[in-house]
Amino acid sequence: MSRLLRTSRLFRPAARPGTLAALAAAGALTLAACGTGSGAGGSGGAPDTLTEIDYYDAAPQNTQLPQILDECAARTGVKIKHQQVPRAQFMPKLLQQASARSLPDLALIDNPDLQQLAATGGLVSLSRAGLSTEGLYPSIVQAGQYQGQTYGIAPGVNGLALYYNTDLFTQAGLKPPTTWDELTADARKLTRGSRYGVAFSAVGTEEGTFQFEPFFWTAGASLKALDSPQAVQALTLWKDLVGSGSASKSVVTWTQADVNDQFMAGNAAMMVNGPWQLPTLNADKKLHFGVVPIPIPGPGAKPVTPLGGEVWTVGHSNAAREAKAVAVVKCLLGHDESATWSKDAGYIPSNQRAAAQLAASDPQLAAFVQEVGTAKARTTELGTDYPKVSQALADAIQAALAGGTSPEKALSQAQSAARN
């Protein structure tokens, strides 16, 4: 059971069901708005205890993060009250706290959500507080900025690549694919019995969009025009993989954690997934796999993957608390701390030099490090409009894969929905 319920840190299925009745949700949030502060953060009081919130609820990250936090807290001379919230409840929780004006001192938030939260005015500008983003990947720096100010800095980043089962590839006498044609051909050859050639997540949330974006962007499409010929080309690739039976019809219900389970169980010869799965995959000694960059449409194209990962933010309280919180963030972003964290959690250090060192020492991460260099932050094109367009794109993917709608029609519907 835990397998299916457990999902990646990066994303969770759209909702932790049963806890939030949509009917009451809007009202409940407002109720919180005028309630007293929820006790997290807030103003006043000696800054000897800081509050922190994140959504890392899966091993190994859920134990590593508190550890590194405590280390940095001890060095700064404060205590940290640590809190984990499931991914689906994370934004509602933060919004509640924002409305009670008691945002936590430290929050580790998903990078595409940063601009939305920064727009509330509840976050401390880290650039004004004197934190530097020098040496970090420009794309993650950009994802942490809103209106020219840096509000979030990432200790590590991630992306997507193609995992392949080396045993199956050797048996079939194949080499890992580098182009879309090779991907399609290999997937067809490796599909046998109950095993599919390739697995990916096309679930109807941001998670599905995130998995599609490497193909979408690599084809040359833009989120500003969902119905471009390049976008149609990318969606056609996915539709053909499912249509020909090389990928399961169930991809529309799989989260990235489900995809990982399918790959580990030998039900898929290849999968699209991120580096955060490496600790789990490596724990299975019988599984032999390799990682290559996402295949490209034709020779000469460069893979453009979406940049994943979380950024540290500091919530407004009072000057003394904010200073302490900034000091903790500075420690968390330190060279050794972020390197340790990245290594254990399956992340790429956001510092370019540290990333290059890691790639040299760890071949599993080489593909990811190579891609992060050209990766794109999801909010670059659209800013705070991203969630809406992402949802429209996820709907289009599902309509094409599960509903028999043509990619052209699905994407043109998505474009008009996104503009609405």
Partner: protein, 320 residues
């Protein structure tokens, strides 16, 4: 909501109770009544009326993420409602909600009634079996929903496996992975969840039908079907009304079953108004529109709640 208004009916009851009791000053009795009623009213006001009013207000505002921090949300009139009504998903969603609700109600009731009639006869192990049928009701929906996700899985699900073995289907049915089957699948699961409720209430209703009626009918030569048609159904009518109205209100607002199984997908094919509201508020962060859909749902629920209250009142009056 001033206390004086509520004080009046309360005082009436107090006064009605007074004859035969010790003589007390009317003012004191009234204050005592208010003191007893006040906590309930405060609770209702704080936890029902206030959120309801906020939700209605939110439906008329352009409520964004920053509104949560600044508290500023411009008034936009009926804009949210008109956008929701013109949303390309809206028609489909309403249709889904109707199909889901009607399908669930009809089958839950029919199967619940059949089981209730079945268990109304005495036979060995009837009691334990009946208790076992309550399990779907007792399990947390997260648990049963997850189990159903496995059962309905296209490739490794036990349902497809069984159907294939029985040669009822030629190739696996993508229950949760196809826009054609997803709504059927979530409705099936919801029917399964709802059967115990229907069975328990209808069983209780059956127990209250006097056995002599059946004996007399049997003596008059009425067959099994005739007894069911002319005794069971008419005498069960009051209970039926309660079961169906409550079932309707519960089903319209079902959220967790759909969220666990399909999240409203694929491509909105199993989206109902509840998941639509959730999606608008927490995926697209369009809180005003989410609230608008929520309010529409409240209107639907209130309409049926009024119908229900009317029906029960008439029943009570008829019973007197």
């Amino acid at each position: 909501m001033s206390t004086t208004v509520q004080g009046r009916p309360a005082a009436v009851t107090a006064a009605a109770a007074a004859p035969g009791g010790r003589s007390r000053g009317p003012a004191r009795a009234r204050w005592a009544a208010v003191a007893f009623v006040a906590p309930a009213w405060l609770y209702v006001a704080g936890f029902y009326l206030y959120p309801l009013a906020s939700s209605i207000r939110m439906g008329f505002q352009d409520y964004t993420v920053s509104s949560f921090y600044t508290g500023v949300a411009p008034y936009v009139g009926w804009d949210n409602y008109s956008k929701v009504l013109h949303d390309s998903h809206f028609g489909r969603t309403v249709l889904n909600t109707v199909v889901f609700t009607a399908g669930s109600l009809v089958f839950q009731f029919a199967l619940g009634l059949a089981l209730a009639v079945f268990f109304n006869r005495r036979f060995p192990l009837g009691g334990p079996l009946r208790s076992l049928l309550l399990v779907p009701w007792l399990l947390p929906l997260v648990v049963s929903g997850t189990a159903w996700r496995w059962i309905l899985d296209t490739d490794s699900g036990v349902l497809n496996h069984a159907l294939l073995q029985l040669h009822l289907i030629g190739h696996p049915v993508p229950w949760l992975a196809s826009t054609h089957d997803a709504l059927t699948a979530v409705t099936l699961v919801n029917i399964w969840v709802g059967i115990p409720f229907n069975m328990v209430i209808l069983y209780g209703g059956l127990q209250s039908i006097p056995g002599e009626l059946y004996e007399a009918a049997a003596l008059d030569g009425a067959g099994g079907w005739q007894r069911f048609r002319h005794i069971t159904l008419p005498l069960l009518r009051p209970v039926t009304a309660v079961v169906l109205t409550l079932g309707l209100i519960y089903t319209v607002k079902v959220f967790d079953v759909i969220m666990i199984l399909t999240q409203g997908g694929p491509a909105g094919s199993s989206q109902t108004l509840t998941t639509f509201a959730y999606n608008l508020s927490f995926q697209q962060l369009e809180f005003g529109r989410g609230a608008a859909v929520g309010n529409l749902l409240i209107v639907v629920a209130v309409v049926f709640a009024v119908v229900y209250l009317r029906a029960t009142r008439e029943q009570r009056q008829a019973g007197r």
